[in-house]
């Protein structure tokens, strides 16, 4: 039975899981969850993700939630462990460090920006709160300064090897690139080149197309 991912492809957390499946080439089924109709709060979905969020994931009897946990499982199971480096203590530790940075610094600044610039106008009929956007752009820039210094020394975040820490950035990076604030990365040439590198991976291109198709359908 193919693995199942529950959630809309346009969700950054769903996209993160999809890209790992594409990286390892495992068969999967993307099961839609219509969040505009509250399906993510339905008993069926909550039985898979008790916090009523997306994605949820199923592999046989195993049900998982939380995209970064699901991603690691898929990579370990599907022959993608080179993206985690768990056979090498030092490298695995650096992957973990920058995955935490992705979650705690990059995602936490990008999420309100994407919410205000995409979700509010497109799905909620509201207006972008520019104060929230500006505040978070400032936070983002502070983080990007650190990224710039790091990527001036190493080709990728965890070292000179690509890892889940890099790829995990792509969903928010995609929305940054197609949104009104893409130029923020122009001041950080190594970051800009690194993002371009990640976005050029076949797995990332494939999932980006799925994300865009899902948005067009709405």
């Amino acid at each position: 039975m193919a693995m199942k991912v529950y959630g809309p492809a346009a969700s950054t957390n769903v996209a993160r899981v999809l890209v790992c499946l594409e990286e390892v080439g495992l068969d999967y089924e993307l099961v839609p969850v219509d969040m505009t109709k509250g399906e993510h709060k339905s008993p069926a979905h909550v039985s898979r993700n008790p916090f009523g969020q997306v994605p949820a994931f199923q592999d046989g009897d195993l049900i998982l939630s939380e995209s970064r946990a699901i991603s690691k499982y898929i990579l370990r199971k599907g022959g993608g462990s080179h993206l985690l480096r768990e056979g090498n203590l030092s490298e695995a530790a650096m992957v973990d460090v920058w995955l935490e940075v992705e979650s705690g610094q990059f995602d936490s600044a990008m999420s309100p920006i994407v919410f205000q610039c995409f979700v509010v106008p497109m799905f909620m009929g509201g207006t972008t709160d520019m104060k929230v956007v500006e505040e978070n752009l400032e936070k983002l820039k502070k983080s990007l300064e650190v990224y710039e210094a790091r990527l001036s020394r190493f080709k990728y975040l965890a070292g000179d090897f690509v890892s889940l820490a890099d790829i995990s950035h792509f969903p928010m990076a995609h929305y940054l690139l197609v949104g009104p604030h893409a130029s923020v990365i122009d001041a950080y040439p190594h970051v800009k080149a690194w993002i371009a590198d990640i976005m050029s991976r076949p797995s990332v291109k494939k999932v980006t197309e799925l994300m865009e198709a899902a948005i067009r359908m709405n």
Partner: protein, 220 residues
């Protein structure tokens, strides 16, 4: 061999997370004290270790790490991997899930309550009751999920204790000193799980370094 070093102030729940893992794994370490008030975390020598200027930092041989949850994973992977689910794919995935839940669901709510109810008063401010109310409600819903979960297994990730459980200890240590501890008291399985966690020798040892007033001197 150089001992493991942790840089930071132990009252920080993030530093405490790192110390707890070292204690659980029985690893000898040196806590290098830093002063938040003196801005040690913003000095160049610290920024060289953690470019985000935060604590903790861990040095293990030639490896320098930051981000407390990454440090925790490294310490256990190296010194006590059974606390990460061992080599079993499903078990390690489940530990990862509940670690993410701690980070994304539990900590934002519990941390906000601690910040308003404990830290703000110590700094001479008043708790923002709207923020407290909102986060108490969020935490209630999260803990209700935990209550159901703990009805199906002894610990969050299964029948063996793991980092997923341990990772909750530091912020809960402070949360349980607030009036909102009643949230936990009202959920029998969560309460028992918390009490068992806090009774672990490693947790007791680390709690000694975490006075309820965060080490601020009491106002006269």
């Amino acid at each position: 061999m150089a001992p493991v070093k942790v840089y930071g102030w132990a009252v920080s729940p993030f530093v405490a997370r790192a110390l707890l893992c070292l204690e659980e794994a029985g690893v000898e370490y040196e806590l290098v004290p830093m002063s938040r008030a003196a801005g040690d975390h913003r000095r160049p020598e610290h920024l060289a270790r953690n470019p985000f200027g935060q604590v903790p930092v861990l040095e293990d041989g030639g490896l320098t790490l930051f981000e407390s949850r990454a440090i925790a994973r490294h310490v256990l992977r190296k010194y006590k991997p059974e606390l990460l689910g061992g080599g079993d794919l499903a078990a390690s995935a489940t530990v990862d899930v509940w670690l993410e839940v701690e980070a994304h669901q539990h900590h934002p709510a519990a941390g906000a309550v601690v910040k308003e109810c404990v830290v703000s008063p110590l700094l001479g401010g008043a708790p923002d009751q709207a923020v407290v109310g909102e986060n108490v409600e969020k935490l209630r819903r999260v803990l209700e999920v935990y209550e159901a979960r703990l009805g199906r297994s002894r610990y969050l990730a299964g029948d063996l204790v793991s980092l997923a459980d341990l990772s909750h200890f530091p912020i809960m240590r402070y949360f349980m000193d607030t009036e909102h501890a009643a949230l936990v008291e009202a959920l029998p399985r969560v309460k028992a799980w918390w009490e068992e966690l806090a009774a672990r020798p490693a947790a007791r040892k680390v709690a000694e370094l975490m006075p309820p007033n965060f080490g601020f001197s009491k106002k006269p």
